[in-house]
Symmetry: C2
Subunit: 263 residues, 2 copies
């Protein structure tokens, strides 16, 4: 199957413009699964709860999810992408999974980072694996990477691929995703953004790019530059993630010693 990501620099608050840019850049792609960054159409650095509420959208009836579904239908692909989700007065830092037939699932970010904690409600969806035909996929959003329990839960539920919309500013995640893939024998597709934001007198955030696709053996198939737009699509065999035998004696998940973990 063909999986990819689109790394770019969203313009804060310019939802229509960001959606247009993504639609244009992906107009001719051929792939099964495309991952876009966290909050890819809204921008990241919110400075008030009101601002979040004004940019957050219902799912699946908001403009962003509708456009993603159109894109999925046009390109016969699945898309995982991050957006601020509004449900009543509550806003989540969410990611949707859409396919040609519409919305498949929503993941609400579990581990909120830094000032996201001021503006978003912590996710309540837990970790779900969806079967999109070509593979079984799970979603993590950005900072969820730091918590091994998140990727582990998805692997135990049968995920072949961790789809990972991100807006990374700290340097560690790209290398850590190699560990996440090794320790779970899964693929990961991290779609990060580039550029920077400095809004409302807050500290400038510079996003580190370095989007990547990593294999269950911990091989980085491709890592994007730190500061350039990058659309990458690669062939992978998702069944590689289903063989958890490390050698004739060890099976990664079977060999867990749940009786001895105190988590």
């Amino acid at each position: 199957m063909r999986v990819g990501y689109f790394q770019f620099a969203p313009a804060f608050g310019e939802v229509a413009r960001n959606l247009e840019l993504v639609t244009t850049r992906l107009a001719t792609v051929q792939c099964d699964l495309m991952v876009l960054p966290e909050l890819f159409a809204s921008g990241y650095q919110f400075v008030s709860k009101e601002e979040v509420e004004s940019l957050a959208e219902p799912v699946p009836d908001g403009a962003t999810t509708k456009r993603l579904i159109e894109l999925a239908r046009d390109r016969h692909m699945h898309v995982v992408a991050g957006l601020p989700e509004r449900q009543g007065k509550v806003c989540y830092n969410s990611a949707v999974l859409v396919g040609p037939a519409g919305l498949i699932g929503t993941y609400r970010k579990t581990h909120l980072f830094f000032e996201e904690t001021l503006y978003f409600t912590p996710g309540d969806t837990g970790f779900t694996v969806w079967d999109i035909g070509s593979a079984k996929v799970g979603v993590l959003v950005c900072f969820d990477w730091l918590y091994p329990e998140a990727a582990r839960t998805l692997a135990l539920k049968g995920a072949d691929i961790l789809c990972h919309p991100s807006n990374l500013v700290l340097p560690h995640c790209p290398d850590a995703m190699v560990t996440r893939c090794l320790e779970n024998r899964v693929f990961s597709v991290t779609a990060n953004r580039i550029g920077s934001e400095e809004r409302g007198g807050k500290e400038r955030l510079t996003y580190i790019g370095a989007s990547e696709v990593v294999t269950p053996r911990g091989r980085i198939l491709h890592r994007a530059p730190r500061d350039q737009e990058d659309l990458t699509i690669l062939d992978i065999d998702p069944t590689e993630a289903r063989n958890k035998a490390l050698n004739p004696y060890n099976d990664l998940l079977r060999d867990r010693r749940k009786d001895l973990y105190e988590l």
Copy 2:
């Protein structure tokens, strides 16, 4: 406090010779905590259960533990080191923690790798944290690195330092320990061995060296060469591992979402 490791090439089955080499090399060290490799005095590549039984030792009355206690007493330090432990007819791939006053604790390797599964009984000790005064320490042995549950259990129990006797042959662990330290905000001291073994017609095992000390912020303070003996001792501040605040909004362990993990 001063922590270190001694990376070297044990000679298989030559327990007295390996103990002598370690005693000589460490004769003048000044440190609080020294970590030696997995199975540092026996060698690693056993080819039969009988061979394991002949080299395994009771703890603390075997020659290896006794010598380690002498060393700890002479140098006023604590030592973590791996050895084949015999308890009746059962053999474990264990590591002992000893101090000037004698044996403090024994950890029996939880996750056995490859043909170790033929020769050793999986550990039954679980993961313990010991307070050695200068720091709280936990022990992982080699392949335990791959299971995030192991390091996490130790961090939740208050470990400042993961002491990690190893005999690594695959390339991924040194980088993965950076992830283990970041995701738990702890130090790690991995003591690996060098050299190779090719015994009883089995495939040659070449050990990768690259012993290292990593900080809670994921900085590699020192990484040893792949193929040379290396005695490294460094100053660290173990209290760095006790502040789990990542920023004013995030506390690493408090922010876990146990209700959403399915482990």
